[in-house]
């Protein structure tokens, strides 16, 4: 009888263990999320509303002043323009990569290279640009010696928005290649052949099938690129050593400022602003993917 009783208990216990199992397995992940996402986010939110240990809206108010609004605007322009450049050039590059031999060197090389560049391209290339065409850069000096004037027009642009846009593209394009390649691979050869068989020219195929099928993943990838540029810091930090033209640099200035004390809370408020922008973009990204790509599986 005891045996029977144990036997009949087993399903319940198994059931409970089953429901505990996955959450136990998730624990390391939850700890990770807690330490690296939730705690910082909560800190940012709370600190953003504190001033000298008390609740205050003064930092939030600062967000709406001219300097901060200008930095926000520049951040948005930088992110949007490099997302657009990256998405268009990256999509074309992906197309060239998939039209090649799938096992060929070009394809494997391009994929690996994109992986590396998307991570480190910005920093490396910022250095490269500074040392060649920057103020006192090698190429700049050589050309100045040859022509008698600075062909790069003082090189100041490199340390401002044009320079940032140029250098950001170096990691945006490879990131686009990485996120867009799977979508391109999902474009089945049968669709092309069926369209051709039904009388479509190459142009008609792209107009009626290729582009409509690729539009949702293209726009989604562009949003991802926007968020990526918006949150990027290292590249900008290397290129622009002083000044606070975009939000991440403004946070750096607020945190390291020795002139004005007590700016830490402004840094938190700025970070909060960035969190909100990225969260909105990612929300649109998800919503869009869900809605527009019902038929993509």
């Amino acid at each position: 009888m005891a045996l029977t009783a144990t036997g009949s208990d087993t399903p319940t216990r198994t059931g409970r263990r089953l429901s505990v199992g996955p959450s136990l397995a998730l624990l390391p992940f939850l700890v990770f999320v807690g330490i690296f996402l939730i705690i910082p986010t909560v800190t940012v939110i709370v600190q953003g509303f504190l001033e000298n240990g008390r609740f205050s809206l003064s930092n939030i108010e600062t967000l709406f002043t001219g300097t901060v609004m200008r930095a926000l605007w520049k951040s948005v322009v930088l992110s949007a323009s490099t997302a657009l450049i990256g998405a268009v050039i990256g999509a074309i590059a992906s197309y060239l990569v998939v039209s090649g031999n799938p096992d060929g060197l070009l394809r494997r090389g391009a994929v690996s290279l994109s992986g590396v560049l998307a991570q480190f391209g910005g920093v490396t290339l910022a250095f490269a640009w500074i040392t060649t065409v920057g103020l006192g850069g090698m190429l700049q000096r050589a050309l100045e010696a040859a022509f008698g004037y600075d062909v790069f027009g003082g090189s100041g642009w490199l340390y401002d928005m044009p320079g940032l846009i140029l250098v950001y593209s170096y990691f945006q394009i490879p990131l686009m290649v990485i996120v867009f390649l799977p979508a391109l691979n999902g474009l089945r050869p049968q669709w092309r052949e069926a369209a051709t068989n039904l009388g479509a020219s190459t142009w008609q195929f792209w107009k009626e099938v290729g582009i409509p099928v690729l539009t949702p993943p293209f726009l989604a990838s562009a949003l991802l690129l926007f968020a990526n540029a918006f949150a990027a810091y290292a590249t900008a930090a290397i290129l622009v050593s002083q000044g606070q033209i975009i939000l991440p640099l403004m946070i750096r200035a607020a945190l390291t400022s020795e002139v004005v004390l007590g700016q830490q809370n402004l840094a938190f408020a700025l970070a909060l602003e960035m969190v909100v922008v990225v969260a909105v973009v990612m929300w649109v990204y998800n919503w869009y993917l869900k809605r527009a790509a019902r038929w993509l599986q």
Partner: protein, 360 residues
Amino acid sequence: MTESPARTERGTPVELTDLTRVYGSIHALDGLTLHIDPGELVALLGPSGCGKTTALRILAGLDRATSGTVAVGGRDLTGVPANKRDMGMVFQAYSLFPHMTVRDNVAFGLKMRGRDKAARNRRADDMLDLVGLTEHGGRFAHQLSGGQQQRVALARALAVEPSVLLLDEPLSALDAKVRSQLRDEIRRVQLEVGTTTLFVTHDQEEALAVADRVGVMNQGRMDQIAAPADLYANPATPFVAEFVGLNNKVPATVDGGRAQVLGVSVPVIEGSLSAGPGIAMVRPESVTVAEVGGGDAGNARVTSVNFLGPISRVYCRLGEGDGAIDLMAQVASSLATRLTPGDPVVVGVEPTAVLVVAAP
């Protein structure tokens, strides 16, 4: 659309002449010649890799022959691009455009031909009626079953009234029950519209069931092309005999147009060995099995029995050791269910004509 009883009154003849296709060192097609009558349905049958798809794609203009010619309705199509060939193609699977409704998929070819929206929707709905999907015009491909998707693909291919309909293993991604249903459906629709059709498959049952004539391909060539019953009764080569129907190989001796097989004298079919010892290709349904009683040893033993419904397969072994012959017999289940492995039986052959080939 007016009804026409004779299929040959509509449709266009197709002529493939001496096609070859070489990929590097592979001869995918090695001198394939095929004539299809107007309105005829020819099935191209053969094992995987024998060049069926290559032949179909060359006809569609999706691939280019290394040499040889393609003519449809007497017109040489060499140099005519695929999108101007006016053919309807059904692929194995997943060929519907995912972002369009079923109706828009079916209307696609007409849109490419510049037909106005009202006309193409009317035609699309007619085609959906034809394949029994009247209610599904507003759905997307991912909301349909595999069988329904293939019906839509068929409707889409036929909507443009193609001169030739091409089907490349259209049923092979479906499960068995849907497969035989849709197979009959394709044949019904094909007879109704009267379009000349090339149907590629590796499934002999499918080919025999659906086609006016079946062409058996072997390594890039046509081994034999004939009406299903003819092909089945008179295979021209051992390859055809083996591929079309599961065959037993039984030692035989030929003399004067007849062969001695398991002690039975049977006629030989054209193309057989003319005299001497050889191998007879005997179909499972031509092998006879009889129970023996009262301690009689028979001439064979049952090795296993497969119940298939009204009929069963009985596997027997004649003799022992190296010279043993394994035979598969297809018999009524009423007999087969009385047999168990190890039982002694008497096996023989029906006196139907067999193909006898030289022993390897």
